[in-house]
């Protein structure tokens, strides 16, 4: 039986002007979850609450099958989290920061650190604060990988990062997933990352999970069809996301169901085309 690496149940966190949850989420080994949603939808807050950087108001969180006490740090040894939390140490050089962080992790690999520093051309003598936004992202990313984690929680890891390094990060994440036993939760705004890294997609809106599905369901269920006609029954159908009347064109999130309806109405389908992931994500985030 596959046991989940992380499981959240009815987790909430309230602020004056924003509240997260209650939400449930499960991360299974071998799976990359893309966490998407517009700015301010609660992606970063969710990751911080999961990491216990922010205290939740209520709910249960299990890591590696177990609910941990707030003094326990053992579970954090196996989680790599990148969420822009190093600013407080900005006065340190990257090398000093490494010395500090590596001490927290018995499983830290200096060899891997050296390799990655070279791969991403990081200057260890530079003060963290003085590094560009993209370089800071790369440094955080490197830190999350060097202590042999089983689970990565990454908050927009490639934001501001140059194209070549983005490609390298993608490669490193795919390699990380190669043995099929680890998992990643990736908060991102980059369609390409969702397309080439993620297996499942979780959409957040105003602190709540409004959609959660396997990525292939998009390809199999969403479609744009061109039809001979379009009746009121079709226009008002809940699986019709968008329609135009002249020429008749329908976007649906459930092709099979809609085909049944259309056949009953004696309308013919002239053409069918799958939607791109990008189009669907826009519909999902902007509904």
């Amino acid at each position: 039986m596959v046991s989940s690496l992380m499981q959240a149940k009815e987790v909430t966190k309230k602020y004056k002007r924003f509240s997260l949850g209650p939400l449930d989420m499960e991360v299974e080994p071998g799976i990359v979850i893309g966490l998407i949603g517009s700015n301010g939808s609660g992606k970063s807050t969710l990751l911080r609450v999961l990491m216990d950087v922010l205290k939740r108001d209520s709910g249960h969180i299990k890591f590696f099958g177990q609910e941990w006490h707030e003094d326990d740090v053992e579970w954090k040894q196996k989680v790599g989290y990148a969420g822009e939390i190093l600013d407080a140490y900005g006065f340190l050089t990257v090398g000093e920061l490494k010395d500090l962080i590596s001490r927290w992790y018995p499983s830290w690999s200096n060899e891997q650190f050296e390799t990655l520093v070279k791969r991403y051309k990081i200057d260890l003598k530079e003060k963290y604060r003085r590094c560009s936004k993209g370089t800071q992202k790369k440094i955080e990313f490197i830190f999350t990988l060097c202590h042999n984690p089983s689970l990565l929680l990454l908050d927009e890891p490639t934001a501001g990062v140059d194209i070549v390094s983005q490609r390298k990060m993608k490669e490193d994440l795919l390699n990380f997933m190669e043995d099929g036993e680890k998992a990643i939760v990736l908060a991102t705004h980059t369609v390409d990352e969702i397309n080439s890294i993620c297996d499942e997609i979780v959409v957040l809106e105003s602190g709540r999970i409004i959609h959660s599905f396997n990525k292939d369901e998009i390809t199999e269920n969403w479609a744009r069809i061109w039809t001979s006609d379009i009746g009121e029954n079709v226009k008002n159908h809940p699986n019709v996301i968008q329609y135009y009347s002249n020429p008749c064109q329908i976007v649906t999130n459930d092709l099979d169901t809609l085909e049944g309806i259309i056949q009953k109405e004696q309308i013919t389908i002239n053409h069918m085309q799958r939607l791109s992931l990008e189009e669907v994500l826009e519909f999902l985030i902007d509904n």
């Binding site: 071998g30 799976i31 993608k170 795919l174 997933m177 190669e178 099929g180 397309n195 080439s196 890294i197 993620c198 297996d199 499942e200 396997n214 990525k215 292939d216 390809t219 199999e220 053409h271 069918m272 085309q273 799958r274 992931l277």
Partner: protein
Amino acid sequence: MKIPIHISEESREPIYHQVETQIKTLIVGGQLPPGTSLPSIRALASDLGCSVITTRRAYQNLEASGFIKTAQGKGTFVNETKNMNIEEAKDKIAYDALEKAIEQGIQVGCTEEEIRTIFREIMKNNFSQ
């Protein structure tokens, strides 16, 4: 390592089946000879923009029908041809392709006789000396 397959935007076929059929076609057609190393399920999913659940399913089916084999820790390879039913696969691939073509003909309004004429002409172009 990339292999030349792609997911159709216009097909109703499930993705795992498209991947399975296209890899089978490449193997039967000799483009992927026995022993060729195939991308991992993760790498293939990344190239195709689908999930590992889909690529795993395609590989499991291909393995069950003897087309590929997985060696623990070494990766996935094209199997020796003696382990697969090539004749049956050839028939199936050709049959499905013709069926699809005929369906398209019907969709644009061809009559049976028109489709027969087209079929005969294509056959003549390909098989007459």
